[in-house]
């Protein structure tokens, strides 16, 4: 994310979460946090505990966030925010939390008596770990009438006009396949995709693990009772090289599409 992207991100984030932006500028902003946002991103639980127990007027913070110090002419005393900075990571976490579950209806603008088909869409993140990492996103959608599954579901959604309430004169067909069952079906599909994938990475990690173990064994070849450092290093190697796979959901929801 370049400074400009960070800036746009912040702007949209605060707009969508109803935090008024008091000063707008290409390279910094002053934003008034809401109580909810203050609690989420400012990490000051004791203050909020105190406010609530003492029953005093809460005062959510104002933040001055500088997104591009190199271009800023003015002398602004604010927090530098950039990709990798802790504050931005907190905002990312908040975004994940606030954009996890949706139920949306498509507005086609075609007017009278449209019918909309129910879909379950889920964005999966699959991570391969050993001494390094690789991550993949799988965006899957399943038609809750037919059971048909499509990939790159998120891409399909992006071009559509989706709203949280059902449009007038429109009929949303109730689902036949229960979302819980559909979700199980998608989970199995993701697992199949993982199994079909190339796992030479895991074999390579194990080979490297073995080689490091041999070096370690050589080093202690003469000791009858192995010292604690031997066990420590052996454990460290295990943690470093053991191949693991993790499946997370980024987000997902019910989509009624034309």
């Amino acid at each position: 994310m370049y400074p400009q992207q960070v800036h746009d991100y912040l702007q949209t984030f605060f707009q969508e979460t109803n935090c008024p932006i008091l000063t707008e500028h290409p390279y910094y902003m002053v934003v008034q946090l809401t109580e909810e946002m203050d609690k989420k991103i400012m990490n000051r639980p004791f203050y909020w505990q105190y406010v609530e127990s003492a029953g005093i007027e809460p005062a959510p913070l104002q933040l001055t966030l500088v997104t591009d110090r190199t271009k800023l002419q003015e002398d602004i005393n604010g927090e530098m925010i950039h990709f990798g900075s802790p504050r931005l990571n907190r905002l990312f976490e908040a975004t994940k939390e606030l954009g996890a579950f949706v139920k949306l209806y498509e507005y086609t603008g075609k007017g009278n008596s449209m019918t909309l088909t129910p879909w379950l869409g889920v964005n999966y993140k699959v991570s391969y770990y050993c001494h390094h990492t690789k991550e993949m996103l799988y965006s899957l959608g399943i038609n809750l009438l037919t059971g048909q599954v499509v990939e790159n579901f998120q891409e399909r959604l992006k071009t559509r006009n989706l709203q949280s309430s059902i449009p007038a004169d429109t009929f949303a067909v109730p689902y036949i396949i229960k979302p819980a069952r559909a979700l199980d079906r998608l989970d199995v599909l993701v697992e199949e995709m993982i199994i079909d994938d190339d796992h030479s990475w895991a074999k390579a990690a194990e080979a490297r693990w073995l080689r490091d173990l041999e070096v370690l064994e050589y080093f202690y070849i003469d000791s009858v009772t192995k010292p604690e450092s031997y066990e420590l290093e052996k454990k460290a190697l295990e943690e470093q090289y053991t191949p693991r796979i993790k499946v997370d959901m980024v987000n997902g929801g019910l989509f009624y599409l034309s």
Binding site: E16, G84, L98, N123, H131, I194, F219, Y220, R244, G253
Partner: protein, 510 residues
């Protein structure tokens, strides 16, 4: 293969289905997906960091080093590039990478006091990492990324404050200062939690292989076994290394070392000459007389004080006289005093300094800017006076100078004076690529000090071949020092890897 699944999302989704809400906002849903896509580490290999550093392009060997540290060494490594190849850049890349991946939030950088500002500037300007220099009055939690001097860090109350911080990453510059495990600073670093840790030094071995052992034991305790196991496996004699291949293999698991010639950057050559100098008859007599002191007086019988005096007289009578007159005050018997005074008189009467004359000869032939390194302040002053009498302008330089004075001396040297005369402590942190001649007037015990000296001149940006002159006086302690230097270089090369020329090759000079 075992697949870990988290069930949180599923539970949350089913609950909302049942209760029909609350549902989230479509824009935030999209942002969340975009962010996940943006943060995705799509490849096992490769760095994310360069994408976020549009303003500067690291060199290939620097990117490769950062990649190796992260992918092969799991973020615990010794960065041991030769001087002048940009270890700071490599460390910055690694730190940035882990910050991007969200694995490091808090980091501590320990550096010599003279390099703190350089670190803060590089991290902020090159890497957009908001590092600040530690100031006692602002406290330690002023920033998540703190740069502090090692001398401050090891002392109370700073040391306790650091222990409380729970840093994700520790970076230690000039890490060869940790070679001695009995020092306070070693103990301090040992008790520091090191989840990710980088030790930066061009000279992981200075004198013997145990220094490397202690350095690696800080980084990954047990990697080289305990001391006893190490000593047994790698021989009791300190300077012969058995099982070199295995040791090298272990070392390579935790150490990245780029050599100039591997960098893909055009490097100029080093032309090294060891110059043997013959004392004049009078000088040799004074040297022998001085050496005789150890049989006459107990004040001079300690090996250390005698060696000091011998080294000094090889440098200049001025250097030797200062120590001698100091020691003279400790003599009690008449005989000792008489002998020592005779030595002193002999020294005072010396009219010729053969080494200084050789220096004049080298400078005249070079007809160019020259740096002279000496170990003694007295010799520094003497040389400045002596060269002055020959019409050669020079400026002194040492580590005790304030930053502004150092900058001024550097500028004087660049623009006005022909010669810069530096003492050892001046060698750290100045870059003098505009100069191509280095005279090692006195030899240190440690070859890496020579390497550090040469590195001031032979670094990125040097456009000419660099001439290095190592001076040693025949039939004196300096010849012994030269021999030891060769042995130490040999150990380094067997365990760590090849070195660029510091001395002329062994065969040539023996």
């Amino acid at each position: 293969m075992y697949i870990e699944r988290s069930s949180d999302w599923k539970a949350g989704f089913l609950k909302r289905l049942e209760e029909n809400g609350p549902w989230d906002n479509w824009t935030l849903y999209n942002m969340s997906y975009d962010m996940a896509e943006h943060n995705l580490i799509t490849d096992f290999t490769g760095l994310q960091a360069p994408k976020y550093l549009p303003h500067f392009t690291p060199l290939a060997h620097q990117l490769e080093a950062a990649e190796t540290v992260i992918e092969r060494m799991n973020g615990k490594a010794i960065l041991a590039d030769e001087v002048g190849l940009g270890k700071t850049i490599e460390a910055g890349l690694v730190l940035k990478e882990y910050m991007i991946r969200g694995l490091v939030k808090k980091a501590l950088i320990l550096a010599p006091a003279s390099l703190i500002n350089q670190w803060v500037e590089e991290l902020n300007n090159k890497f957009f990492i908001p590092a600040i220099a530690y100031r006692k009055k602002y406290g330690i939690d002023q920033s998540e990324i703190i740069v502090m001097s090692m001398d401050t860090a090891k002392k109370s109350p700073h040391r306790e404050l650091i222990y409380e911080q729970d840093y994700d990453m520790i970076i230690i510059d000039e890490a060869h200062k940790l070679k001695n495990h009995k020092t306070k600073v070693y103990e301090f670093v040992q008790s520091l939690k090191k989840k990710f840790c980088l030790l930066l030094t061009a000279t992981p071995i200075q004198n013997d292989v145990f220094e490397l052992f202690y350095l690696i034991s800080l980084l990954k305790p047990g990697h080289l076994g305990n001391f006893e196991a190490f000593q047994t496996s790698f021989s009791a004699s300190k300077r012969t290394v058995e099982h070199e291949e295995y040791l090298k293999e272990l070392v390579n698991q935790v150490m990245v070392r780029n050599r100039r010639q591997d960098t893909g950057v055009e490097w100029t050559n080093r032309k090294v000459q060891n110059i043997q100098i013959q004392f004049t008859k009078e000088e040799q007599e004074a040297y022998d007389l001085l050496t005789g002191l150890k049989d006459i007086s107990s004040v001079f019988s300690g090996a250390f004080s005698m060696i000091t005096l011998q080294k000094e007289i090889c440098s200049s009578k001025e250097a030797a006289c200062m120590t001698l007159s100091h020691m003279l005050s400790k003599c009690t018997s008449e005989e000792e005093i008489a002998y020592a005074e005779a030595v002193m008189e002999k020294l005072m009467n010396l009219e010729v300094n053969s080494k200084a004359e050789k220096v004049y000869e080298i400078i005249s032939q070079a007809d160019d800017k020259v740096i002279i390194f000496t170990e003694y302040r007295a010799s520094q002053t003497y040389l400045q006076w002596y060269l002055g009498t020959k019409g050669i302008t020079s400026v002194p330089f040492n580590g005790k100078f304030s930053k502004s004075k150092r900058d001024w001396m550097k500028q004087l040297f660049q623009e006005k004076a022909q010669v810069l005369i530096a003492t050892e402590s001046g060698a750290e942190g100045i870059n003098l690529q505009f100069c191509h001649h280095v005279i090692n007037y006195d030899l240190p015990w440690n070859p890496m000090k020579l390497e550090q000296r040469i590195g001031r001149v032979h670094r990125l940006g040097q456009e000419h071949d660099v001439h290095i002159y190592n001076l040693a006086i025949e039939d004196t302690i300096e010849q012994h020092i030269l021999g030891l230097l060769y042995e130490k270089i040999d150990v380094f090369e067997k365990v760590v890897g090849e070195l660029d020329d510091i001395l002329t090759s062994y065969k040539e000079s023996i």
